[in-house]
Symmetry: C2
Subunit: 598 residues, 2 copies
């Protein structure tokens, strides 16, 4: 059976020593009182919840899955899920970073992100129930009418009700412009919705008295395509004026999908059979409103793979120290034992360090992005808010795609450390791999993220956003350029930063003549950008570690951080050498292939 | 539901147009009569069997899995498996390449390899029952006494009985020197074996009247470690002098593993409770005898991933042509449809072509290796036999590790083409991924293959075997060096071939001072070698295609081959740029990490 220890020390390192979040929070009126002790106390309690409440349900939830009742359309979640959710609500976790106006605790989103990393490590399938709900909270908070907010936000904040995002239909996932669900105005300000949705995560369950569905649909007079989509609230149970539950609405679960992983989460087919809903935001502007949820959700998906990478790494590390097999090539290490622990073998270390470097680099990047959102929402200076918003928009597709591709690789390699035992369910490693797989697909496939990054976020504004991140790299290069001890970390990112500028211009020019050049380069480009960003954060983490070591801090944590940074630059960062070549190879080798793909 | 079309045309291309196998067979007395018509007829029938008999059982076999009865220790295979096996035996497929002396058809192993590729595409879990059995046949054929051969080989040849390999114990997989199962001589030429084995594929089932277990165990006076291991035959039912079945032997299944994939194959815990067996080969030389099986099995595992890559590719290609989503970046392609088929998108093509290039490169390499074994066994010239044996020994770890790592990547990317639908069981794609995962682990993890290649096969004989392969590359470079049309294929392999020579010497020198340098470079080295080998075969396939095109052959198959070759060199081969760097980065970044891995 796997184990899980919340990585509190590493979260604290990122928050307090690298990002210095409390210095930032002091500038924001809402968060000015948030000090290190508060942060540490919150994540410690959050870690306890994840490790002791939802982690023990991870394997059993995978084995049982959710059960659908055809008669009643009800869904039973795996044993213990409902009780764990009640404890979550009881503990106030749902409200952690919600608006105090609706009963929230108003703490920074960075803390919520730490909470979710641990929930994801412990049990991704379970964590998706409150996770999706928080997305619905954010969309309503940003776009709901006063009445909608008053009706729904307090319940979503407390966690008494959960929310969903109903976007996908059988014939459209990426291309929402094709969607067919209809919304007919009733003349009383409400609409009747008819259609079929699929792949609705946490779409039906037995955890709460009500479920608040956010549904994309078309008004009768809507323009074709993505400009004719509106967003609606369609509650499972109608809500009376006094806030109590009324009649059952005609939105129901038509069945559950059988999936590769996240078995404990109900992936529902949702039938709207003249269900009554109200409009959120303006008619035909539903996609924009939904994107509020989607951007937060994309960071959340990156966090899911971060969580899985961390827990897979922890278990692989423990196994590698325990499992005795063969002798070290450089001489017997454990003389009193029949064989050496497999951690003596260089390639076993390579697999472990890959997962570790991806987890810790990912954590730094994700918390940096989340801090940017805290600034975007709460910083008094408008320019800071604007810059933060722009930078987080740039980095979001990188977090989503780079962390989830890395998570696939990291969980697979952690599983490989176990040899044959890694393939056996009881060890839990294969579940981490299966669960990690969906993260590369949903909330926009990783290919779509790459197009979003290169096409929209970078070429779409002539590289202006990229320059914003480039400035951070340049500042670090400037700061540490003459520090010999930092050269091994600074030189590669300085070099890659220069290369990327040229490289981006090059693709931009080629793309003007043939837009397929952008599509052909995008996935490789995103991984290069991912390494530039990871390289930057690994350099900053190495900088912090070197300073502590120079100051005489004897904590081996800093040596470990330095060693992992060295591993990252020696063994993972050089992937960029290939990626630059394959991206530059252009679209011809992909597109002149009609005979090959006949 | 997925579909499968046996890739007969591509197999014929490799056998008849690239390798020209019948020219080779004419030189071998046993196979002199094997002509193209025979080959084509055999693979066509084999393809029919795979596509119509075992493929329809693939998803249902995965869903049901095998059932273990604690009372009787019996294992029920999924519905239809037993009947399909009876058809297989009836059709004479088990005997295809077996020795006519024991009832075999004596056809080349290349044909058997083609048969297995299709069985693996159709249903890997099912194919493992006859597959393991064929391994046992080969070990007994090479090392059994006359009596053992007479007793067991006819039944294994016909397929009336199956065989297993019982190696692994809970505390030892890679490190068989640690194994504990004991064999006590009974004074009558038999031994009583006591111990527990795990992970025994096809270890118990309901398909045949008897199962012939080949078991590794220790004699009482055996030296410690791997030099004290002997090989035994331990039949499930004793065999009487007249060949009929006698009493049940005390070897039985103690339980089945719950696994990530290959659910239809019974992965058995095998208990030996004083079971009676006979010695195969010499005492304490069991590992050597078992390696006969293991080497063939390693090619067989490569073939499993080749099969999965092919079937995953076929389904992804069909889906990409059918699924309408978004418009092409370079302008609408399907004006009459609401969106373009996703095959218009460059990155979708990249994923498809990755799977295609890996499948077709893998097929060429695997059939080349299998032809080498046919030569090793049947060529009249001793030098050819010896050279063939040496070359196939070199290439075996590459086939095992490179094809299975590629298979993981290819099945994952083929699944990605399906977006969210790829995660859903009904589409069948996620099963290909789960089944492909074991191939990187069993028969020696891919990390072990890398050590075998670099440590034993290459540095172990000072690069002599590598030079043998290098000569093939050099000959092709020589032959086509002035052909401008071949330059795009020849230049990269000529360059990489040179690089590898230096690179190998470099690691060899570093390894003399610190053996961990070999362990640190091995996995990257194997992938570089894999690309050199794939590059060579893609260049040869391009050469054949170019010649046909130049001769006016209008079959678009050749254009397709050329396009795939171009894709391979543009988008996959450049992985070597990174691998050379990371391998050269050495062991320090891996081994000086005690604080990081504390």
């Amino acid at each position: 059976m796997p184990t899980y220890n919340p990585p509190l020390r590493d979260m604290q390192f990122v928050m307090h020593e690298v990002l210095k979040v409390t210095d930032e929070y002091k500038l924001m009126p809402r968060h000015a009182e948030v000090d290190a002790d508060t942060i540490n106390a919150v994540i410690e309690e959050a870690g306890k919840f994840a490790a002791t409440v939802t982690f023990p349900l991870n394997i059993s939830g995978d084995e049982t899955g959710c059960a659908y009742d055809r008669e009643t359309h009800a869904v039973a979640t795996p044993q213990g899920f409902k009780e764990a959710y009640a404890q979550y609500v009881e503990g106030g976790w749902a409200a952690l970073s919600c608006d105090p106006e609706y009963g929230g605790q108003g703490l920074p989103l960075v803390l919520n992100q730490c909470l979710y990393e641990m929930l994801n490590s412990a049990n991704q399938a379970w964590a998706m129930y409150p996770g999706l709900s928080h997305g619905a909270y954010e969309a309503l908070h940003a776009h709901g009418t006063e009445e909608q907010k008053k009706t729904y936000l307090p319940k979503l904040t407390s966690g008494e009700w959960t929310g969903t995002m109903c976007l996908t239909e059988a014939h459209c996932g990426t291309d929402l412009g094709l969607l067919r669900t209809k919304a007919e105005p009733q003349g009383d300000g409400t609409y009747r919705l008819t259609g079929n949705k699929i792949f609705i995560s946490a779409g039906e369950h037995d955890m709460t008295a009500n479920i608040v569905h956010l549904v994309l649909a078309r008004l009768p007079d809507a323009p074709k395509g993505s400009k004719g989509i509106s967003l609606f609230i369609v509650p499972k149970f109608h809500v009376k004026a006094d806030g109590s539950l009324g009649e059952r609405n005609s939105i129901y679960c038509g069945g559950l999908e059988h999936k590769m992983g996240i078995h404990g989460n109900a992936t529902a087919q949702i039938v709207l059979d003249g269900a009554v809903g109200t409009l959120v935001g303006e008619p035909n502007k539903g996609l924009a409103a939904m994107f509020v949820m989607m951007n937060a959700a994309r960071l959340g998906v990156g966090n899911q793979s971060l969580g899985l990478t961390e827990v897979a790494y922890q278990n692989a590390l423990a196994y590698a120290k325990d499992r005795l097999q063969m002798r070290s090539l450089s001489g017997v290490k454990a003389k009193d034992k029949p064989a050496d622990p497999i951690i003596v073998h260089p390639d076993v270390r390579r697999m472990l360090l890959t997962a570790k470097a991806y987890a810790e680099g990912g954590r730094a990047l994700l918390l940096f992005c989340t801090l940017l959102i805290d600034k975007e929402l709460n910083h008094p200076d408008e320019k800071v808010r604007k810059d933060s918003a722009e930078l987080v928009a740039l980095l979001t597709p990188i977090v989503k795609a780079f962390l989830t591709d890395n998570g696939w690789s990291a969980t697979t390699q952690s599983q490989q450390v176990f040899g044959g035992h890694g393939f056996i369910k009881e060890w839990g490693m294969e579940q981490f791999v299966r669960d990690a797989r969906i993260n590369m697909i949903y909330e926009g496939t990783n290919g779509i993220q790459a197009l979003d990054l290169l096409g929209r976020k970078i070429l779409g504004n002539n590289g202006a956003s990229l320059k914003k991140f480039g400035k951070l790299v340049a500042a670090l290069v400037e700061e540490e350029g003459v520090n010999e001890k930092m050269a091994e970390f600074i030189n590669p990112i300085a070099y890659l930063g220069d290369q990327m500028t040229k490289f981006t211009t090059e693709i931009g020019f080629k793309g003007l003549q043939n837009p397929d050049e952008v599509g052909a380069a995008a996935v490789d480009y995103l991984r290069v950008a991912g390494h530039l960003v990871f390289g930057y954060f690994w350099a900053r983490m190495a900088q912090t570690a070197l300073r502590e070591i120079a100051a005489g801090n004897p904590d081996p944590f800093y040596q470990g951080k330095l060693q992992t940074a060295r591993f990252y630059f020696a063994k993972l960062f050089p992937e960029t050498a290939t990626l630059m070549r394959t991206a530059r190879a252009g679209s011809k080798a992909l597109m002149d292939t009609d005979a090959a793909l006949a």
